[in-house]
Subunit: 552 residues, 2 copies
């Protein structure tokens, strides 16, 4: 399970021992406690020949000396026979370790506790694996025994830090800036195009709730309701089938404000992250740099550039124009034809005719290769935040480029300079959408919203050709004195995983689902009986072969 030293982010001054009979945690005792009688509760991490054991709890490790005299024979027997990972209470006297036996690597390494009485509170049966190897075991095994994996110092650290960062965010929003924490429903109805929304059958025949992908509609309605400043640590749902490192339920820091502009939201988020940033990860400077969508694509070939390293895409068309290389000349002869390249350290130059997006991938792959070869391009302790702004408001539909769809969502307001283009040439309209990027990962996004009912109706009906009936409540709300408003949502799981440098968001979620959306510990989802489906007026459409098999 490793040393729990990392499992103690910023925890001084807390009353960890309130309401219980322990006097101290296992990470707390120092030379100053020598002579005190203490009561500790924890798990046996290690036990040696009936002589001593190491007791572990969430806060650290303490060495316990097992008494060898006749009067304590009972204590010796108990502690020597309890298997590793059993839970025990130990009462004893804090003593200095014999000279030379101090362990400077251990926060409690100057002392040991001489057990006087002890109790085994629960035995641990033989573990299905060696603890030391557990971390190297297959992820499926770790997920099945998630409650054992949670005892590791790394997961303890990740979950505790997550809790503390969210608490600091709440302090900033609630206690400093007057935001109201409002819980919005998760049983709602389908949004237009909400193909990724889980359905929840209701007791009304044929009618379903759906689990929303975000509280978008509700937070806008709260602004219409005069709440002024809303936030929520919101549970969101997205049914994407099997996609790596996605979770069917995830958490976002969801924020909305009235009477605010794009810069206002950006300063709010910069302040929020600065305030809640964990000390042990250094400090972050604000304001964050900003880049337009167009610049991001041109220079990095992606709308979420990793700005920790250079190797920007450069246009070498002018340089090559004079050279007699046929495929280059052909490319340059097209309208908007260009030749671009990235410059890779140590003299390698790779030129390229593809799209910028391909060069963007090549840039990241090159960085991977160079780092595999020993060159450090991306400092793992560096945090490069970046705003990407001025996205297009609409994009051509992939399946039918003659039709338009929202680049983000239909409530996004057009850029103030482009409003008139909305009615003449919607493809040219930039939006008031902004993304927050951290080290090449999109960790947040938001926009100033449309607050004018006419404009919202125009976007839905004329540009997107959607049936606005399903959003009639929102359209009507905009007609009853909706204030100008905007907001943002931060992807909490991704943000925390970047802060703790975890390879997957599963490492910052207590009970994650596997990439197929399964809970491997509790075995969810699971079969239910036809009787259980009855109140919901649904039945399973079994594939024909299974149906036949059941009949026979």
């Amino acid at each position: 399970w490793g040393s729990p030293a990392r499992s103690r982010p910023r925890q001084q001054g807390l009353y960890f021992n309130s309401f219980v009979t322990r006097t101290n945690t296992c990470g707390e005792l120092r030379s100053a406690h020598v002579g005190q009688e203490v009561t500790l509760y924890g798990w046996i991490q290690y036990q040696r020949q009936g002589l001593f054991l190491v007791l572990r709890d969430f806060q650290g490790l303490t060495q316990i000396i097992i008494p060898q005299d006749e009067a304590h024979a009972h204590v010796k027997k108990l502690l020597s026979n309890a298997p590793v990972e059993s839970v025990v209470r130990v009462t004893g006297i804090v003593s200095p370790r014999p000279p030379g036996q101090e362990n400077p690597k251990m926060p409690t390494g100057d002392i040991e506790v001489k057990a006087e009485t002890a109790e085994v509170l629960n035995f641990c049966k033989k573990l299905p694996f060696e603890i030391k190897d557990f971390i190297k075991k297959s992820e499926a095994l770790r997920m099945q025994y998630r409650y054992l994996d949670l005892r590791s110092s790394q997961l303890q650290y990740n979950l505790r830090l997550r809790s503390q960062i969210v608490m600091r965010m709440r302090e900033y929003l609630c206690n400093l800036h007057g935001f109201v924490d409002v819980e919005t429903p998760t049983l709602f109805k389908r949004t237009p195009g909400g193909a990724k929304e889980f359905l929840v059958p209701s007791r009304e025949v044929g009618k379903f709730y759906s689990l929303p992908q975000s509280p978008q509609q509700f937070k806008q309605l709260l602004m219409v309701g005069g709440l002024d400043r809303y936030f929520q640590v919101a549970r969101c749902y997205r049914d994407e089938g099997s996609r790596p490192d996605r979770q069917p339920e995830f958490t976002q820091i969801d924020i909305e404000m009235s009477f605010v502009d794009q810069a206002g939201i950006q300063r709010l988020i910069e302040g929020l992250l600065q305030y809640s940033w964990p000390e042990e990860r250094g400090s972050i400077t604000t304001p964050f740099p900003s880049m337009t969508y167009e610049e991001a694509l041109a220079d990095y070939g992606t709308d979420k550039p990793d700005t920790r390293f250079g190797m920007k895409i450069v246009d070498i068309g002018d340089f090559l124009r004079g050279l007699d290389i046929q495929f280059v000349q052909k490319a340059l002869s097209y309208p908007h034809g260009s030749v671009k390249a990235i410059c890779i350290p140590q003299g390698v130059v790779s030129d390229a005719l593809h799209t910028c997006s391909a060069l963007g991938s090549l840039r990241l792959e090159s960085a991977d290769l160079l780092e595999a070869a020993g060159l450090v391009l991306r400092d793992p302790s560096a945090f490069h935040f970046l705003w990407v702004v001025d996205f297009p408001l609409f994009l051509p539909k992939e399946e039918n480029p003659a039709e338009l769809e929202s680049a983000h969502h239909p409530f996004t307001a057009p850029h103030p300079s482009d409003t008139s283009l909305l009615y003449s040439d919607p493809t040219k309209v930039r939006s008031q959408h902004y993304d927050l990027v951290l080290n090449g990962n999109e960790i947040g996004g938001g926009s100033i919203r449309i607050h004018n009912a006419e404009q919202q109706r125009f976007v839905l009906e004329k540009v997107l050709k959607e049936d606005s009936e399903v959003l009639s409540h929102l359209l009507e709300a905009l007609e009853f004195g909706a204030p100008p408003h905007g907001g943002i949502a931060l992807g909490l799981d991704r943000l925390i995983s970047l802060i703790v440098d975890a390879p997957s968001i599963r490492d910052v979620i207590a009970f994650p689902k596997s990439f197929r959306g399964r809970d491997l510990m509790g075995n969810a989802p699971d079969y239910v009986t036809p009787e259980e489906l009855e109140p919901y007026h649904i039945q399973v459409s079994w594939p024909l072969e299974e149906k036949e098999a059941k009949k026979n």
Copy 2:
């Protein structure tokens, strides 16, 4: 919408004007601001003859003087023509009100703002009702236009106070006592007997998630995982069809601790409520009184006694034994036969032979009657907390009294003095369950849990005769060094509704469902197409007549 004076619980020192261009909120200006140029944003609450208007935001009301001179004709036109509930920006100079026109009932009643410039940010179309009457309108109308109802001072107050109380609870748990805020999944699987759990179809044919009624299993597994102290403001789900004042989704303050006993949890909750109690509701004293389940039934005829008033049930059997009243004598002749009564103030005595539970209802009905007649029995500003303890661990099943079911849930530990009875006479075992009652309402409940796998298996298989397979992960977890643990959950919606003296929990929830589980604003649940059901391998079982109708 009433005066927003109540909508400002404990808000001093907050930066309500950060990140926006307003200089002040509408509740903020005082004589000290006279002479300052200010910019306010808000809704037109009232406008009179083009002379002045009252501007409202979440924090209060400010009187705006509409300029009458030629140079400001544009401003006058704008402000005079904007309908009530339109959103405007006003910039102007704070001035003292003319002598004699101060309004001492209004926090900003000493000043007014002389508008210099103004902008109508959004017009409000004609409201479907008179605002003043809105509050008296049918609840269905208020739910349909919830975003308008949210502008009322009462709902603003309720939601803001709720946010602040929860924030204080978080400070107490997280910042003072080392609890970790852990988010647990809501997509899980059916628990045994989970007849009230919503189902969520998955993409695996025939398999369903379910939305849990509480994070019970997860919080126990977190204790096995060594988290030590967990809390969560947890969204919970319960499908009860139509029941008055219940919501299909609700919120509980969910808490679990390792190495704790019943008294430890009780002291924690008392401290939590004392710490987070809003100043304007007075203070509460701790520890809360405690009563056994048996006492509660005997004295009040209910397990959630309202202890704000007396009228306890008294046994008058001995007194009546000597009298020659036949039905009384007959009742007393039964084994355990008794005659009980409650003493109602003003000399009325009602004696009774029924059960205590009927007398308990009679006691509450009598109180209603007496209060309708003008006698104040239950001080509306009094908060009487009460612990009810020593519940039975098992109860006879209603449908088959020869079988037992858990009085609360199968994870509840037996009372330490009754452990051996578990194996000999389970009906006699008291549990380590505790309920928290406030003014006759159950606002929380919890227990010390079984941490011994053998005991848990015995309860599930031998006493409850349930298939323990579906809980195999929990049983296995108990075998891997589960610490002794216990916890509690507080019903947040009910608690807040009692604190703000709201008639329904719907008044402390931003977007509640109607009592049939419908969202009347957005129209959820709703029909979906067969194509949308396809990925989930389900189809609607339409009643025969509808199916036939569709065919023809």
